[in-house]
Amino acid sequence: MASRSSILLFCFYFFFFFLISHCFIVPIYAESNEEQGEEEEFSEELLLKPLPDRKVLAHFHFDSRTPPTNTYGRHHRLFPKAIYQLVKKFHIREMELSFTQGRWNYERWGGFDPISSSNAKPPGVELWAVFDVPFDQVDATWKNLTHALSGLFCASINFLESSTAYSAPSWGFRSHSSSLRYGALPTEAVCTENLTPWLKLLPCRDKAGLAAIMDRPSIYKGYYHSQRLRLASTESSSDEGKGTGIVLEQTLTVVFQPSVQRASSAYSGDRLLQPSWSIGSLFRRKVTGCCVLAKSSRVFLELERDLIAEIDKFEMENGIFGVDGMVSEGSWNNTSFELSVLPDKLIRDANGLHDRSSSVLYEFSVEKYSDSVPLNVGITWKLPVFWLCHQAPFHASRFLMGSGNERGSIAISLKSTQSHEGFLGHEVASSLTNSNGCSVRSIVFQVVPWYVKVYYHTLQIFIDGQPHAVTDVIEKIHVSPSEDKMSPGMLEVVLTFPCTMQSATLTIDFDKGFLHIDEYPPDANRGFDIPSALISFPDFEASGNFLKDNPSKSRLLFKLQEKRLVQSYTEVLLVPLTTPDFSMPYNVITFTCTVLALYFGSLLNILRRRVGEEERFLKSQAAMKLGLIPQLLAKFSAKLRLKQQGPPQPMQQSSTFGPKLLFKVILVAAVAVGWHLYFK
């Protein structure tokens, strides 16, 4: 009751606040923001992007930041207290936590753009953190952090506490850092109970602003769902005073399949028309205003470069050069598609090469929309367009080889997507071409649990079907072998491939280990997971370049043009291990008890027996009574007859009364049976 009334109160209060804010707070707030440089900030942005395989990407980006404590103090208006305490308590310098469901499809949804390289995460939970504590305290801090996060996000992140679950990559995961810890839980299921605490960190929660459109059934129905939280802090002793404070970046990346109306899915030509969609159709809600606490609140619609190029080409072919016909000019209503809302601004990628089209961002400002006039950004396709997304230079996949419960091997295969040649020509060719021709580097970072006993010396590399000496290909390698029940194995390796390479495969053999009976998880027969490997390409950087057109200081755009390594996660593998038959402990207990009883019985028998005395005793008995032995024998034969269950064989002279007795019993039984049958 109390909670409901408090919610009502909150709603009322909120509504009131909302009304007031619309009247006067916003202008005041904005002004005050301009005056003070050091201020807490919150901004919300949403990026929508059609994907080549008729799906739509929605990427929410919430950015909260607070100035450093020593200039600003400990009290915050916007910044979530929980996160602030986390940073303070565990001396986090950087941290990233992601909850992901589904797989990012690198081939169809892109592997080269900033969105994919920073937001494509492996399924399950991934956590890494850099601490600002002395070296010997890092592990302890990590353990405490996992428990704190576990409570905060209602997830079993605390399983990362055990030293078998996390590793300390030295350079394979990120640049050199001794206090980095990395852990992943590939089996962790992601659900709304993880989203709700994440939303609580937002100043408006999901009551207002962009987060309000997160209709739970819609966002969990998507093909990919990744909820991410990233922290960067300069609250450390070393750079006192000059840092940017704490930056909390919360992103939610969802890939939708827009519902297709039967009519529009008809073939036109040989190709399917892209489905038309809008925010309302994707989320079943529309944007009804911004979060008043947000400094900026925007929606972007991105059209990829290849898509623009395709549209341009199509229009060229058809000879359409209307006054505003060229898409490059940024029309929002042309022969190929139509936007449902007039964009406020058009931003073009300045990075685009001059001979090619560049990707286009349409910006919509949420401020001017409200309940009565909701923002419903959408796109309606008029012509079938087909384009390819921008892929990473190599498509990485990982799989298991072999069968059986004894051993197997892990193979990581890299297939050239042939898209890097173009880039090599322009961007990195100068840095790559050295004396012995052009080459591409890639870093493989792989953590393997201890029960998969990898033999690192069996690393084999095949390039284009030919085996290569490991030393020729590997530039740098760092292996930390697994320790049974102590730590996982970790492989970090820098490989150098020739540019012309079509495919490369790394194989490494392993033995499957045995676990102790109480180390098996409840669903042991499902198999055991090997977390994703991370393949990154240090020669390539994914970054947009919207800087020229970013006067509005959009955090999302800043993020997009940050230079990032192109990287891709591989599949999670499932290794079936030998499992005991858990359903039959009873049998095992019975069997072992029988064996033990037999053993101890005979042991005791031997120990307590005094052979000499027994013989003497027997002799004296035989002297006293002669009739004992026939009696014993009779007993013995009766026992045996019971055991054999067959018809009696009259062969021992001692069993004199046996057959007679048996005959009597049979006779009685036969009479009884006859009696019974007769009266039936």
Binding site: G102, Q257, L272, L388, S397, R526, T579, E614, H676
Partner: protein, 731 residues
């Protein structure tokens, strides 16, 4: 069996008399001594009980039940609808509309399938493979299948096949596990049933690409079965699990073979953004379903589903997989489910008599106490026995009954479903309801397996089926085998101890021999070594016979008759040579050759033979239980009863005749070629019999890497030869 029973009284009396002066031996020892002393009756009882327990197996069969709760078959309404049937029919028409016969048109079907798969939004690729000739490599019998790097260079392009594989990545799934659907089709000669299978496969696939409940990936393999269903599926599985990264010239050839076919397609697929010759994988396979539509063979009042489950070396898929298929087919789709049955047994008179007898006994028992009623109607009994017999036979043979066998080699549970309609497939209206049923069945099975969190492990792996919904588990049927095999060690011990005690007895009675008893005892106690040598030599011969086919295979221009003849002649020749080398087997070593030793010689040889047979059967029961069980049925009576022919002359006439006929009959039955011959005659009649049949049969066994081949040549044949040896023993 006169000799052992003669000596029966001796050990017992000695033990009982000695126990008066010595201390009593322990109970377990006494029991053992008792069993050994009554070995004749024990072995007779056990043997009869073993055969009887086999006969009553159909009565002991239990109803199947779904053990894994997570499967929840039939709990969801099927989504497969008339729309999907229309899609299937469209596909069927398109396939039948393609031209056939020419080499050019071979890629037409894969291309068509690939186009449809791409349209449904899934990934697709072609898998090219060489059909490999099964060759006998004796040295890698149980070894990995990995060494297929030796691709023969002389393979022409004509022997390459193309599988089309589509993969649905489960939305929201993590891609760790996959369910495989296989539809085999013969591209050389497309028939309506093939086209229907493909149509059904595609309509299910396209349905699954739209559903929201998938947790595991779906892989659809349209397997070109021009070179055999098994070959194409196993080639794909091999590339899935054990890919060869090293690309030799032979491997390149495969690519160049089909380059002109694929080239056109590649253009098309690049436009669509899918490179379609890269081998793609999904996760660990949870289960596989091979399904195909066959035209009806027999009159039936319902659409029929037949299930094939036996994989190589008698491995079976988890019973739960069969259970859910049976449950969905019978209780949801109203199909008639059947499993393989030995038809010749269905009309056998003696089986009916046995069934009626058992029924009568059960009725009588039921009259006494209604709870004692155990039997089933005679007709059910006959059918159950026939199904059980075929189930045992196929498991014992060790040859997979379909392409599902290829999956079992990688520990994946798989079955083949053959769906046949009640009316001929030509009737178009009828086959859409039929397709609807088939589609709903397969959708239901996929959905059930999809529900599975862990892999199949709850239910049985070792079982015989007596009907689609009845099974005999290992705990029941191993009793029969144990009963059959247990007399062997008892008899061996009895024979050995009988000889020893008998001799010492005689030695005591005649003190004149006692003078050199020291040395004589030493010789006697080591006498089994000679018998062991004979047994060892015969087994060595078995190994040589095992390896001979590898050499015979190298011969040019051979037919199965000539191969068989060569094999036989060479085997006999080697046997003779080995006899010569190892010294005359019937003569004695040393100068101590009194007649009593010689007469005891065959007894000790029999003891060692029986022991080796017991060891062989025991080993085989671990590898392939059904083979061991059937082998025991032939081998155990033969070993138990074998008696030298010359010795029979000294017996009473009636006994001698009985023993002689038994011995001869069992010796003939125990010879594998003769057994096959008799089975053939009884099932097919005398026509079309040839010497090469046995060779063909054996060839199929080794081509499928069946352990039954090893059993036959390493255990059964040497034991048979030893029995013949004993039969012809000169006293």
């Amino acid at each position: 069996m006169e000799n052992p029973s003669n000596t029966n009284e001796n050990p017992n009396s000695t033990t009982s008399s000695s126990s008066t002066e010595k201390r009593k031996p322990r109970l377990i020892v006494r029991l053992g001594i008792f069993l050994i002393s009554h070995s004749t009756i024990v072995s007779l009882l056990c043997c009869v009980a073993g055969f009887l327990s086999l006969l009553i197996l159909p009565i002991l069969a239990k109803n199947t039940y779904i053990s894994e709760n997570a499967l929840m078959p039939g709990s969801a309404n099927p989504m497969f609808s008339g729309q999907d049937v229309l899609e299937a029919n469209k596909m069927v028409k398109e396939i039948l509309g393609l031209g056939f016969g020419s080499e050019e048109s071979r890629m037409e079907i894969p291309r068509l399938i690939a186009r449809h798969i791409v349209d449904s939004g899934a990934e697709v690729y072609y898998h090219k493979f060489h059909s490999e000739i099964n060759q006998f490599h004796p040295l890698n019998f149980f070894s990995d299948i990995a060494y297929t790097e030796f691709i023969h260079d002389n393979n022409s392009c004509s022997s390459t096949g193309v599988n089309t594989v589509g993969i649905i990545r489960a939305p929201r799934g993590d891609g760790k596990e996959a369910i495989v659907l296989v539809t085999p089709y013969n591209s050389g000669k497309i028939e309506l049933s093939d086209a229907l299978s493909l149509g059904l496969g595609y309509s299910i696939f396209s349905l699954l690409s739209k559903v929201t409940w998938l947790a595991k990936d779906i892989v659809w393999l349209a397997a070109e079965s021009r070179y055999g269903e098994y070959a194409s599926v196993s080639a794909w599985l091999r590339d899935y699990h054990n890919p060869v990264f090293f690309r030799s010239s032979g491997k390149l050839q495969v690519d160049t073979c089909l380059v002109d076919h694929v080239h056109h397609e590649r253009q098309d697929s690049q436009v669509r953004g899918r490179t379609s010759d890269v081998f793609r994988r999904s996760g660990t396979m949870a289960a596989a379903l091979v399904f195909k539509i066959v035209d009806k063979q027999e009159e039936a009042e319902k659409d029929t589903l037949s299930i094939h489950a036996e994989a190589s070396n008698g491995q079976m898929p988890n019973l739960d997989l069969i259970n859910i298929v049976h449950y969905l087919a019978v209780h949801r789709q109203g199909l008639r489910v059947k499993v393989e049955t030995a038809f010749s047994l269905l009309h056998s008179a003696w089986l009916r008599v046995v069934g009626e007898m058992l029924e009568w006994v059960s009725i009588m028992a039921g009259n006494l106490n209604p709870q004692w009623r155990f039997g089933i109607p005679a007709a059910d009994y006959v059918e159950g026995t026939a199904t059980l017999a075929s189930s045992m036979y196929y498991q014992a043979l060790g040859v997979p009954t379909g392409s599902h066998g290829a999956f079992r080699d990688y520990q994946i549970d798989a079955i083949t479903l053959e769906i046949s309609p009640k009316i001929s497939l030509k009737n178009e209206i009828a086959h859409s309801t039929f397709l609807l049923r088939g589609g709903r069945l397969i959708e239901g099975v996929v959905r059930s397996v999809n529900n599975l969190l862990e892999k199949f492990h709850q239910s049985f792996f070792l079982y015989f089926l007596t009907s689609p919904n009845k099974f005999v588990s290992v705990g029941v049927y191993m009793i029969g085998f144990a009963l059959l095999v247990s007399p062997l060690p008892v008899l061996a011990a009895a024979l050995y101890s009988g000889i020893k005690l008998g001799n010492t007895d005689k030695g005591n009675q005649t003190p004149s021999i006692n003078s050199h008893s020291n040395m004589g005892l030493a010789v006697r106690s080591w006498r089994w070594l000679h018998a062991a040598k004979v047994v060892f030599v015969i087994h060595l011969w078995g190994v040589i016979v095992l390896l001979l086919p590898h050499l015979i295979n190298q011969l040019p221009q051979r037919t199965s008759e000539t191969s068989m003849l060569t094999w036989t002649v060479l085997s006999i020749f080697i046997l003779v040579i080995l006899y010569q080398i190892s010294g005359a087997p019937h003569s004695h070593s040393g100068n101590v050759t009194p007649t009593q030793y010689q007469s005891a010689d065959w007894v000790i040889l029999k003891a060692v033979t029986v022991a080796s047979a017991a060891i062989g059967l025991g080993l085989m029961s671990i590898i392939n239980f059904a083979a061991a069980q059937i082998g025991a049925m032939f081998l155990v009576p033969m070993c138990l009863i074998v008696h030298p022919l010359k010795h029979m002359g000294q017996m009473k006439v009636l006994k001698a005749v009985l023993l002689l006929t038994c011995n001869l009959a069992l010796a003939i039955l125990g010879f594998p070629p003769a057994t096959l011959f008799i089975l053939k005659v009884s099932s097919e009649g005398l026509g079309g019999l040839s010497l090469g049949d046995f060779w063909d049969w054996m060839e199929s066994l080794w081509a499928w890497n069946s352990a039954t081949y090893l059993y036959l040549v390493l255990v059964h044949l040497p034991c048979w030869v030893l029995c013949i040896h004993i039969l012809l023993h000169p006293l």
